[in-house]
Symmetry: C2
Subunit: 405 residues, 2 copies
């Protein structure tokens, strides 16, 4: 297979990222890529970016069936529509660059199979950590058995909100509105706030870090929706920040765990200084200890630059080989890992839902009450209904991994 002289791109989606991609591509004189066709929901909608109206269409077939198009870039919001487009394109052998983390995290095993069957590629570095090249580095550079942990702040919107609330004392609602105004938060912010965005990225990262796919439904995912002034004061008193942290960790030679959870972060940690819309990822391994990567994790142009990197990679026929999926001795996923957590509640009855191994601190007052104790990830997941329905905030105290992060 010889690389194409010119990439003729069919673009799906002309929202924030799609428009950013057009701007980034215009700056890339050596890209040898052009946008042949753009599929949007509403052709007549006025756009901020100048686009030749003749290449706009609302019919996906105009791209999928066009033999002149040799690369599809898919940056639409809707995971269902994204799934239909990406799978159709892959089945036809057309390579795809996508940033849709929800779709990819849910369907990765099938998407890997389709790539193999049709001998084509799906690249999605833009799906995780905006401009930070985390997937490519895990796949290529950390392609060995030394990797022990990938841990970081993967969601720019929630981090922006936490920074405003935490560092500037802004009210939560105001910080959220500001994040939306700046284009960091989705129209439906629950995706960011409840941790799902981080979760989907973590599921994708885990495939490239350890060669194991874990369904998002099987992973502990706690967000920051229930954070209260009391929680913020509690952390501040100890000179900590609260960050929404996603992590995949080898807990032994044969097992690993992964979860998304708010975490108390002390100033000594790398991720302490990752503020606002930035993402930061710590990669820990034997021999090299810790590597830290830091960059803009949200916004049209940083994501667009990542899409551009994936597009350029197709000029050289790059594809993920999913090398670690064929490793011998891949570790197995376990939820039987004990965390030390802070659990703040208003109604004492909620405590019944949590099977603590041990409780080391109890605090009660008229305003708020909390316990600190050890509990397995499995037990937190089992209390999911209580966590969703009541005013309860859980936060990881990284004691288990104390010497590690």
């Amino acid at each position: 297979m010889t690389p194409p002289d010119t990439l003729k791109i069919g673009l799906f989606g002309l929202g924030t990222v799609g428009q950013g991609f057009i701007r980034a591509l215009a700056l890339a004189r050596n890209a040898h890529a052009e946008i042949s066709r753009i599929c949007v929901r509403n052709v007549a909608k006025p756009r901020r970016v100048a686009v030749n109206p003749n290449i706009l269409t609302d019919n996906p077939d105009d791209i999928i069936n066009d033999p002149g198009i040799n690369l599809i870039v898919e940056v639409i919001d809707d995971p269902e529509a994204s799934y239909r487009i990406v799978t159709r394109a892959l089945r036809r052998g057309i390579p795809v660059v996508s940033g849709n983390k929800a779709m990819i995290a849910r369907h990765l095993p099938e998407l890997i199979r389709l790539q193999r069957e049709a001998d084509t590629a799906l690249l999605y570095d833009a799906s995780s950590c905006g401009s930070i090249p985390i997937i490519r580095n895990l796949e290529e550079y950390y392609d060995n058995d030394l990797l022990l942990e990938v841990k970081g702040i993967l969601n720019g919107s929630s981090n922006y909100i936490l920074s405003r609330v935490f560092d500037l004392g802004a009210p939560y609602a105001e910080a959220l509105a500001e994040a939306q105004r700046l284009g960091f938060a989705e129209a439906d912010p629950s995706f960011d706030i409840l941790g799902f965005d981080s979760l989907f990225k973590l599921v994708i990262i885990t495939v490239h870090a350890l060669g194991v796919y874990v369904s998002p439904d099987d992973v502990l995912c706690q967000g920051i929706a229930d954070i209260s002034d009391f929680d913020i004061s509690y952390a501040r008193d100890k000179r900590w920040k609260i960050k929404l942290v996603a992590q995949v960790v080898k807990v032994s030679d044969t097992e690993f765990t992964l979860f998304v959870m708010p975490e108390f972060v002390s100033p000594q940690k790398y991720i302490y200084s990752v503020d606002n819309e930035y993402n930061g990822v710590v990669i820990r391994g034997e021999c090299y200890d810790r590597q830290f990567m830091f960059g803009k994790g949200a916004g049209a142009l940083p994501t667009a630059s990542s899409i551009l990197s994936d597009v350029m990679a197709r000029r050289h026929l790059y594809r993920y080989e999913y090398k670690k999926m064929s490793y011998i001795g891949r570790p197995a996923y376990t939820r039987q890992v004990e965390l030390l957590i802070y659990l703040r509640y208003s109604d004492p009855a909620v405590l019944e839902a949590f099977t603590f191994t041990s409780i080391s601190e109890r605090y009660t007052s008229a305003t708020a009450s909390y316990v600190i104790g050890r509990i397995t990830i499995e037990s937190i997941i089992a209390a999911g209904d209580t966590l969703r329905r009541h005013d309860v905030f859980v936060c990881n105290i990284p004691q288990f991994f104390l010497d590690r992060d």
Copy 2:
């Protein structure tokens, strides 16, 4: 060309890094690589690492002429010997992984030509920034026209010394001895202290960042040998640190410059918190703004883990394509760039050697005197003799790039 089932490695050098590589490889169960032969200067020398004595040799031909060996790992100190081995191996079509930055920086154009002629590969990510995957990322992920600047602390030894001297108030000689004891500094520390190690890495980085080779002889390279207590106090009073910084910067659409120089670093900068033996690199570009990569830049195991990454890449026949060297509109190297510098001296006569465009501050006292002024890189290079022979310390005040780093 199909990838080899097993990499049979001929290893040159069994010093700190060579021994580290043997340890890292032993941890990598999925490497499918084994060390077939090791060439050392003195076969009889006792080693700390357990090696089968039957595979030791002092004759390079035992590796180069062995048809069973399909990869050479070269981690010897001597650049001349390294050059002979690497060029012989490449001519024979044997791929090589090397960490010898001095040799690579001096001979890169020839080494690129040899790779093409013999259709083989030379990988050297370990040559720059120890465990940080900077070369691979510049070559693959930042393979586009957006890149504007790569700037960082590339030498772990001098940074370790500066951290000790600066943050802990340790005397220079003591800090240097400690760096040597810990294995961060070479036996001949001038390589680190005078900035040559950073320079060689910067020359290699520039090829992969902008696609242009600049000979190390043509680049401004100022080290930290002449740093004095006065300089340290001066920086401390302003809440700055002094760091040895290497940078390559596009100064316009058509031109770039590069240089190695001590720099005053304020606490707002990413590299301010890069201490001890760590390296930190800021990659700046259009769209993605700044990316920061941080990790251990010196020591046997971090470097060995980087060698291992390059070795594993050969399982998939990876090679650098030097894509940017064929870019249209590559920028041209210029030294006609004005810096704002601090120049501390004891003998006022030295000032005659420096053609300042303008001087904004002058200070004289019995202990030390300095001027602050604007001067081109070309003019600092022209004053090289004076800089080498006299007690003069120059330090960049990053005003020109003030809004950029």
